[in-house]
Amino acid sequence: MEEKITKEEQPKLKLQLITSDELWNNVLRYKIQRRLKNNNQAVEELIRTALKPERNELIVTNENIPDDAISEIDNFRSVIPLVEDKNNAPLFISKDAKSDSFFTECHIKASDLVKFTDQDLSIDPELQEEYRANRELEPDNTYFLKMVEDANQGRAFSDIVIEFNTTYKEAKPLKILGGQHRDEAIKRALKEGVDVIHGIRVYFNLNKDQRAEIMRISNTNINVSPDLRDRIEEHRLEPSGMLRKFCYETGILNEKEDFDDKRRYEDFTPTVRMIRSFIVNFYRGKEYKGDIDKDAKIPYLCESGRDTDKEYLKIFNKFKKEQRFGDTDLIGAGKMFAKLHDAQFDKADKMKTPSKRAYKVKAYSLAIITSWSFAVGVLQSDEKRLKKLYDLPDLSGDNDPLNAVAMSKAKHKSDPEGYRGLGTRNDEKERGRLLHLFLGYSNAQKPKITDDMCQAAIDIFHSNDDTIRSEEKRKRAF
């Protein structure tokens, strides 16, 4: 049977053409223009073109597609060798009403897909092309390794979400919005000689907001960190890159570096949530009225993973016109925080403890960064105490400024057995406790954070919190 098919596919002489010189000259001209090898190829291609359905037969849709989208789709069909094209099948174009965007679901051979895909897409290619929107590949992830194993066995993947975009890195117009691990698995399988057909969903003519939204929905699964979603949202904000600029100015990020897509200990880079929370708390502290030492304030933690945090947006909008967070006090605080982190990182690195991995990045614990920036905000009106807090890295000598060991020992009577000390969680209690640690330190005579200070901070926070509750009860009674 196999032999028979092979025989049938062998090209055979089927036609002797009698035609005018004029027509034949046109055929020859066509051959030269298209750089075809011989006359046979020219005739073959002309026949294929003639047999190809009309454009209106190539696109089927129930939607009213705008002209610019139509021309993108045409361009897509001419550039990308789809399985549908090879079989003269039409593309069905659908509309996603939520994002008001057009897409098609079609098929492509692995070798063609790999040729044209780009995993390093940008949410804002016009202004932020160099910043990658996708999360980092996780090559050691068990699920990814299983995916590669499946791909090597010929797994046909589907619904890889792609944007067709030729405005940057033109040679790679298929920008992966969702499914970079599948794309990578397909690449690896191709190296092993596995070249099967996969299903893709391709969007056309997306703007920045549509792109961010489709990326968000494409990445809504339990394995995608909210930090990645925050970064996507941050790239979408206008004017672009304000938070990054703030980080470059303060030294929180190195030039050209971007926020991390999830919290990690090795190769640490702060996440969007950390820095947004830093900024919000600085202003919450600065605007605070009352006696903070007698209060039980809870520093704010920005929301993560869904929409952009509303508190952060309020501050962002205030600075929008300037196109940067141009407050010298805030920038000063950011610089001091970067200094604190650097000192903590370097000094904890010299410690001989298995916990040093976590100690090195202790400053970026969400509870610490929020409470530190709140304390710094509130102490803007108390130069002496602010200076003391800023001087912590210098006053700590060879010790890590945050005294991670002392923090790990501090515990309240009500804490569960599994509690691992200050700065290891980020709930309200923890943030309230740490705020009192920094406030207490700024007012203390001692140069370093001590065990007693950590313990006292916990006790003060809970006592004040309870006292306030009791006072409110009495107020309600009268």
Partner: protein, 164 residues
Amino acid sequence: MKTFKFYLDASNYFISNLNYGKLDKKEREYYYFASVLHSWISLESYINAISESLSKGTRIKEHQKAFLQETELRVNDDGIFHEVKIRPSTTKKNLFILHNFSDIDIKKFRQKPLWRDLKSFEDLRNKIIHHKEIEDINIDLRKAKECRDLVKETINYLNRLLFR
């Protein structure tokens, strides 16, 4: 460091995992009494620990702080304030804490079964400590378990209320 958790574990130890069959009646009673007393010690230790913690607050008044630290300011015969050591009962401290550090209505709290049970446990504790010839105390396994469970419940109740 021995905390209230240690004493609660000890209380538990004396009424669990023991081969009662091998013990005579008197020996069993030793265990029941030991369990009840450790339950009480656990409660007292917990109340003292949170009193000390709450006394560190920066918002409380001096007299509140003094009470939590088991002292009182009194005027002596020379008309001068001086600090006197006091020994308030555990149940009194419990009420003081609830009144000053929670949003609980003390009058309502005193009508709760938890408070009634605590008072009876205090009474039992006093009978054991302040022995009187006419009162013979008997504690069985059920009573010992009740006391342990009551202490657990009280500690959990206070934890929920104060340190949420």
